[in-house]
């Protein structure tokens, strides 16, 4: 849920919309925001399931330190969604366990931290 108007931060400035796919579903994001912010704004709380016990994980530290929020992005697993910004047509998948490297991922992972 987005905070459109805030008593201190004011009204949200109009920014460019970006469309990303999450598990095949198209959702609307805002240019310049981290993936996790877009997910939460669309009510998606689970980022991945753990390897051993298949337990759900999601937002925890929000600053890229704990890795609870990692997902597979454009075929690359273990991407920290709280510090990685959205890009048009990004493919985001709920990660199962350690994740798999997809054959059609980009060859340099420069875009991912």
């Amino acid at each position: 849920m987005r905070i459109v108007n805030h008593p201190i931060l004011g009204v949200m400035k109009p920014r460019k919309r970006v469309y990303i796919k999450v598990d095949g579903n198209k959702i609307e994001a805002i240019e310049g925001e981290p993936i996790l912010a877009a997910l939460l704004a669309n009510g998606i709380k689970v980022c991945r399931y753990t390897k051993k016990r298949n337990e759900p994980r999601g937002l925890f530290c929000a600053i890229g330190r704990c890795t609870d929020c990692v997902m597979t992005v454009n075929g690359v697993p273990n991407v920290r969604t709280c510090v990685t910004l959205v890009e048009e047509e990004m493919r985001i998948e709920t990660q199962r366990g350690l994740g798999k490297w997809s054959k059609d991922r980009p060859t340099n992972s420069e875009n991912f931290k």
Binding site: H6, L59, A62
Partner: protein
Amino acid sequence: MNKMRKHKVEVAVVGAGPAGLAAAIEAASAGAKKVLIIDENTKAGGQLFKQIHKFFGSEAHLAGTRGIDIGAKLLKEVEKSRAEIWLETIVFAIYEDKKLAIINKAKGSRLIEAKKIIFATGASENVISFPGWTLPGVMGAGAAQTMVNLHRVLPGRSILMIGSGNVGLIVSYQLMQAGAEVVAVLEAMPKIGGYGVHASKIRRAGVSILTSHTIKQANGKDFVESATIIKLDEKGKPIPGTEKRLKVDTICLAVGLSPLAELAWMAGCKFEYIPELGGFVSLHNEDMETSVEDIYVAGDITGVEEENTAIDEGRLAGVSVAGSLGYLSSREANERKQIIRDRLKCLRMGPFGEVRQKAKEKIMKLWSNYHESRYKV
């Protein structure tokens, strides 16, 4: 390591939060030629840009100004002072010769050679664990604050806050400003931890602050759906039969901060465990210099306090460094340092501050003892 490109500066400041920015401003304004601030984030200002409330202190601390605006002011001053900031840059090591190894997406890896180093790396959130704590919906209070104030997204609608220190109280208030409902604040101790004024703001908004309470477990399948809380006796033990279920979708942990001091450890600085300041803190003297010559510390890394003490410690370190490098005469440096030290003393008065004042005195005494033992012939 020898293949890394070298970069020479006079003063390297690690951390662009209030302490680091203030240190750089003082050093550069006093005349230090190459002052470099290094920060791993995409934005400078540390925690300041998540603080939308008005700060306390005196005029010298910009009291009455919102954290976000203090951050903006400091950045303008940095610009004026000609200090340089490298963002998205991680200091991943400090070697025996005090060279800092950094890595940055655009620049690659570099070896920074600095005459003086100031560590102002701040602190990170603590956690407590309980059954269900791994469920999505359980997060650090700082994480919730980042989501609402930086990204303008609510992580949930119905909040249980654990911890009634200033972070717990302030973040509760900010979550309400963002449109969430704070169902309760739990505090394990029999008294509220943070400032009364922060507590009063949320009490009159209808939030219950339950002292002598803690969380027993978080419930839910894929995310938090409710929390079971329990009362504690005078010894802090849970009282069976006092369990209550609260319908919440978010549980925030506000259970303290610990200094982020890895680089100071790596550099060989001497530490002491001081729980009142958040854990292991690096020893330092009145000039903010650690037990390792030419390495200084400022801000939460030397003990978790507040923004105003962080700024003043940063200023103190900056002036000390400028004096040590010869940009300020002994007299000028001492005068400036004394003014800042007097202000710090003031900030550490009263029922909240005096514990920290004692702790800081202990740190400096231990530094003296260590320094004496090392240089005794």
